[in-house]
């Protein structure tokens, strides 16, 4: 396992479908990434973990070309995302699927139409074929019976499963998950976890899962990156991370409140501030 700023590539894996190299990115002068290196290999589940606020979602926005790196390379399918024009970017996105944290289902159309949405937009398939395709995907996530429901009628776990069906309906080569386990009850969480693994195994999809649910993601990931303060602080298989003697890794894996990642936000001296307030 590597335990440095630069992660080593996972051994024995295929080529890197997503390659993030020495990426620097700042918002209003505040650095989010300073020298980030991450690779997602073909056919594997790559986990990106880290405390809240480390820019995990920002990384996904960089990969999907919603924002561009200030410096460094973000390459997807061998193409530099930063150099793609509008049409090329949309062509790249058609080969990807993304599961949003809240599902991001379109609220004015029902479950069936949500899943059919990308197919209708990008193909001229006849209606009976679209119907078969959508029902197949809904069956895969166990929600064929909910096809007629509106998004507002779904629970959080159901909405995420519908969003997963929508993400795979165009048979993407890469699936990106943004915090797929947040706010789910244990049953829904188990269902989503199994689905992520099944999608990867059955469809041979390259998966990138951004999450801070260490136990859950470690049970299915082939390779994990741990981010902190804008860079990779550890990388390796989940077993390697679990054995790590790095203080940062151990704090994150065991969920300790204090450690290299401080519990307290930087503040003035506590006693001095209380005395000041009582004057």
């Amino acid at each position: 396992m590597s335990d440095s700023q630069t992660a080593s590539a996972p051994a024995g894996a295929g080529d890197a479908v997503i390659d993030v190299r020495d990426v620097h990115y700042a918002v209003d002068g505040r650095p989010i990434f300073s020298g980030l290196d991450i690779q997602a290999r073909r056919g594997l589940i790559t986990a990106v973990m880290g405390p809240s606020g480390t820019g995990k979602t920002t990384l996904l926005r960089l990969i999907t070309g919603q924002i561009y790196a200030d410096r460094g390379l973000v390459s997807v399918f061998g193409r530099d995302v930063g150099t793609l024009g509008g049409t090329e970017l949309y062509a790249m996105r058609q080969r990807m699927g993304m599961l949003f944290q809240n599902g991001a289902l379109l609220t004015d159309i029902d479950v069936f139409e949500n899943v059919a949405f990308p197919v209708r937009e990008h193909t001229d398939l006849p209606e009976p074929l679209i119907r078969k395709l959508v029902l197949t995907k809904l069956e895969a996530v166990g929600l064929r019976g909910a096809a007629h429901l509106m998004p507002g009628e779904l629970s959080g776990g159901m909405a995420r499963r519908v969003a997963l069906a929508r993400a795979i309906v165009m048979d993407p080569e890469v699936l990106i998950y943004d915090e797929p386990f947040v706010g789910l009850d244990p049953i829904s969480l188990g269902v989503i976890l199994r689905l992520v693994k099944q999608m990867n195994d059955a469809l041979k999809i390259t998966s990138v899962v951004v999450s801070h649910d260490v136990q859950e993601i470690s049970s299915i990931a082939d390779y994990s990156y741990l981010l902190s303060e804008g860079r990779v602080v550890a990388a390796g298989t989940p077993a390697e991370l679990a054995r790590s003697d790095s203080a940062t890794v151990r704090q994150f894996m065991t969920g300790a409140a204090d450690g290299p990642v401080r519990f307290h936000y930087p503040a003035a001296d506590y006693a001095a501030e209380l005395l000041e307030a009582s004057r």
Binding site: T64, R93, M96, A104, P118
Partner: protein, 253 residues
């Protein structure tokens, strides 16, 4: 000029420029959006048909007030037979387009802004972008075109109901001759008067829809941000409608 005023002017110029650029992007997205008439028809229904009741009620009461005030004024000069002409001119040239645009901004414009703003806040627009679907084409352009088509149609409804309201008061209540009321209206109205009203309603429809879509599209993705954007839609639409009404009235003189 103080620093604060300078900053205010700069902000106004910047916002106007951004709205102009957004308008150009919107126009470009309108061409492919026309290939999906189903989406535009849905928006004409949402923004237009669902505003019908408020437009009809407002038109009726505006016409009734015109009938009362017009009769009172014309009676002083012994010219009550001109009531139809006065009411028709006021409605076609001014009150119809302006009041319809203001009501549309309050009823449909705010709904457009909050709907698009919430789509932004709940990642629906981002999800479309990631699915390689341009939200300008799928969300913004159909709503803009829907408003652009709906406002002139609503204005026509407002005018017809308003004229009926004026006739109801003038003829049925005040006793103006029914035949004279309509004959005077028909003979005094010129095509130019009707054209002025149509041009105004199209321009107001475009401006109010543009402001509503633009504010929603660029709303800060929070509850407060969407609320503020909705307020800005009403304020900016109302001010722009009245300002452009003066400009267009002067142009038609």
């Amino acid at each position: 000029m103080s620093a604060a005023s300078k900053a205010g002017v700069m902000e106004l110029v910047r916002k106007t420029g951004l709205t102009g650029l957004f308008f150009l992007r919107l126009l470009r997205a309108c061409i492919p959006a026309l290939a999906r008439p189903r989406l535009i028809i849905a928006q004409i229904y949402n923004a237009g048909a669902r505003s019908l009741i408020i437009i009809m009620l407002s038109g009726l009461f505006t016409g009734m007030v015109l009938g009362l005030q017009g009769y009172d004024l014309l009676n002083r000069f012994g010219a009550t037979e001109a009531l139809g002409t006065a009411a028709a001119l006021a409605l076609l040239k001014e009150l119809g387009p302006v009041l319809t645009a203001l009501l549309f901004a309050g009823r449909a414009g705010t709904a457009l802004t909050s709907e698009i703003g919430l789509m932004r806040a709940t990642d629906q627009l981002t999800a479309m972008e990631v699915m390689a679907v341009d939200p300008m084409r799928y969300v913004a352009a159909p709503r803009f075109l829907g408003g652009l088509i709906a406002v002139p149609l609503l204005t026509a409804v407002f005018n017809v109901i308003g004229l009926y309201g004026a006739q109801l008061i003038g003829v049925q209540l005040m006793g103006v001759d029914h035949g004279i009321f309509w004959a005077q209206t028909q003979s005094a109205l010129a095509l130019k008067d009707v054209t002025e009203g149509i041009v105004k309603s199209v321009v107001f429809g475009a401006v109010v829809s543009l402001i509503a879509v633009n504010e929603g599209y660029h709303a800060e993705p929070t509850a407060e941000g969407v609320g503020l954007a909705t307020t800005r839609t009403v304020v900016a639409s109302s001010v722009m409608t009245l300002l452009l009404d003066y400009v267009l009235t002067a142009a038609f003189m």
